[in-house]
Symmetry: C2
Subunit: 394 residues, 2 copies
DNA sequence: CCCATTTCGTTGACTAGATGAAGAAAATCG
DNA sequence: CGATTTTCTTCATCTAGTCAACGAAATGGG
């Protein structure tokens, strides 16, 4: 594997240039004048900052494009081919990854099932996946900016270490070290939901707001926070633990050993539990449950639908707490479970409206994003770009 | 009432000068060198910023004080007499206020019961209290910087309006307008718990941390947040609504009409409810309950103690959610109810440890601050100083 | 007692980022 | 073709910051 050239930092480490780059990246081609307005600068300041970015070919400008009267604009856009970036997500059962260009466009994707969750297994799979992905983008090998990794669990991004992951069964696992050693590339690690936050912020529903949460539903309930325009990590990088909000002292046991956590009330297992409690025994996966609830009218369908409604109501109560506490502009529901939003959405919204203060709920849009797809890994790639460009850009 | 001179803003509006002022104010007399270190500057930069602050007499320096070898330092301190500030809290039943100097030292205090909570009643009481307080500091009338007001409920600080207050029964009440008209002074309004956050940040347990929450216990449960070094207000200034976190779907009715809110489980009424459920009928105020629980050994005392333990456990569950979600460095328990911390504290801590992730709980100190006393109103005064100095200073 | 040492603070030359005003560039409109 | 409009650049200037050198004011050792 080639050594990683990381020439970006010294050139664009200055705050303003980083903001220019990020703005051009995320809000598309822009003229200098538009850019100045958006950044609260005067056009001449933009002009002054640009030369190094253009000379080093991070940004390019189009030919003049006339639009009515006046001198035509030259639009700035990022040069997507300056670098490629690898992003991946390590989850239970599989490692999935993408290669993107500098505009975070996905060039190739791949995934690899892992037999067990031991750190060695997962990390060697991640290294193999990185190699494989970079071979698919053959001319890219000498232009790799770095590898971004999203890990479900508590991550210390500065150290590149996963502190604790219930889902993976990890405690104090160094992720960046082994992966950097195996690939020879710069490695950035963060919580997997945080990678989604960055992706939503740059390309998704978080584009136009500066305070939002991404809540992932699936086997577990995850949460990442963007507060006041920047990713909120907390004291030791483990903020966003919404899944174990204690919502019901009489609730079912949670995998964490406590009772009535949001995750126990609204995770996949809660759906299955409700269905089994309803007397249906041959429904063992969440896919079964969705199929049942969307299937032909039957007693079983009624039970399954009621199960999703229960789960939606619990989720809504949790979101109400989040909404009341942080007075967010938006909550984005994502994760594998979001595909079933037709089943749990109405009950969730109803519980949210019932439990959130009306002012807070009015200010807070709910956005359901069922097509997370590559977004996890793409977000991990964004993380690398974001770091290279300077964390200041949010 | 005299017109308010507000000469500060133009002079010190620059970020760095504001930070210098705030640092000198909060961490006491400092030499230029110490100041530079603390602000991450070089001493000459401090020297260059000082002249306007000294000329306009916001800061002063002591005579040289030798300390061992070398040239003696001249310590900078704020000139407390440059202005006076009025701070007050409008709560149900009474308006209380203080006059402070520029170092937020309390010069005089007063409170005034109000017969009802109608806005006119409360605001005219506030205006009267302001006049009264300023008469107690006679030579101060021409040096008033402004009036800060803390109101329990949802406040829009920019508009100076209380949007909604359950405790006061207010909906869309303009506070700043009438009070400015009546007093002729600049008026700053904020949520009452936010005033506590500022006070704790400047003078209290929040001095050495940059992410903490102040949770007030009493008739209601309030919460203010300092995240990443600055007061977190949320999208529309109503963040920090912890009291209505839904913690128990089978819990008692809350005054907000929902079931099982933290406030219904851990507010004063919850204590009384538990005691009455225990068969004791002549305990109608929280003071009675505290006296009972601290009194002579008896069956009633056992019931009262159990009531506080129940409430503490509920509070601990709520704090665990807060701690997990935001991974704070510190949670400060304040408010009138905090005096009973000997009664609810152990159960609270136990529930917190049981429900918070151990990593998050380890990073999060609990600080109980039972002597809030003037702190509400003093915090409101800080709010005015903070605004005059520039919100940038956190 | 005087001079080296130490610490504090100031001065002045210099740099980087931002601004505003004026002007050059490149289109359309009449 | 000239007037107008819009975009972008150039240049003088401002502000906040740094660095390096120096001045100030104490202690302590010979």
């Amino acid at each position: 594997m080639s050594p990683a050239p990381i020439p970006f930092s010294d050139l664009v480490s200055e705050q303003t240039r980083a903001e220019i780059f990020a703005t051009v990246l995320t809000v598309g081609p822009l003229s200098r004048t538009q850019l100045a307005q958006r950044l609260g600068l005067v056009p001449s300041s933009v002009t002054r900052m640009l030369p190094p970015l253009l000379e080093h070919d991070y940004l390019r400008e189009t030919d003049a494009v006339p639009q009515g009267r006046g001198r035509p604009q030259k639009l700035l856009h990022v040069n997507p081919d300056k670098h490629v970036v690898v992003g991946m997500k390590i989850g239970p059962g599989q490692v999935s990854g993408v290669v993107t260009d500098m505009a975070a466009n996905v060039l190739a994707r791949a995934e690899q099932p892992i037999a067990d969750c031991r750190p060695e297994t997962a990390l060697s799979a991640a290294a193999a996946l990185t190699s494989g992905l970079l071979e698919e983008a053959p001319q890219a090998a000498d232009r790799v900016l770095g590898v971004g990794v999203g890990v479900s669990g508590h991550v210390d991004p500065a150290a590149g270490v996963c502190r604790y992951s219930a889902l993976l069964g990890w405690t104090k696992v160094d992720v960046a070290g082994p992966l950097a050693a195996a690939t020879g590339l710069m490695v950035t690690v963060n919580n997997d939901v945080n990678t989604l936050v960055v992706a939503e912020r740059w390309f998704g529903a978080g584009r136009d707001v500066d305070s939002f949460a991404v809540v992932t539903v699936g086997p577990g309930i995850g949460c990442g926070l963007q507060l006041g325009g920047s990713l909120y990590a907390g004291t030791s990088g483990m903020a966003g633990e919404l899944g174990h909000l204690p919502l019901d002292p009489a609730g079912p046991m949670c995998s964490c050993g406590r009772r009535g956590c949001l995750e126990a009330l609204a995770g996949d297992r809660a759906v299955l539990r409700h269905i089994q409690d309803g007397g249906i025994t041959d429904c063992t996966t969440i896919a079964d449950a969705i199929a049942l609830a969307r299937g032909e009218h039957s007693a079983a369908r009624t039970v399954a639908r009621a199960a999703f409604a229960e789960v939606g109501a619990a989720l809504g109560r949790g979101l109400a707490g989040l909404c009341n506490l942080l007075n967010l502009q938006k909550i984005i529901i994502a994760g594998e479970g979001a595909v079933a939003h037709d089943l749990f959405g109405p009950a969730m919204q109803q519980a949210l409206d019932a439990h959130a203060f009306s002012d807070a709920a009015r200010d807070c849009q709910i956005h359901i994003d069922p097509v997370t797809h590559d977004l996890w890994a793409r977000g991990a790639a964004c993380l690398v770009i974001r770091e290279a460009v300077g964390a200041a850009i949010s």
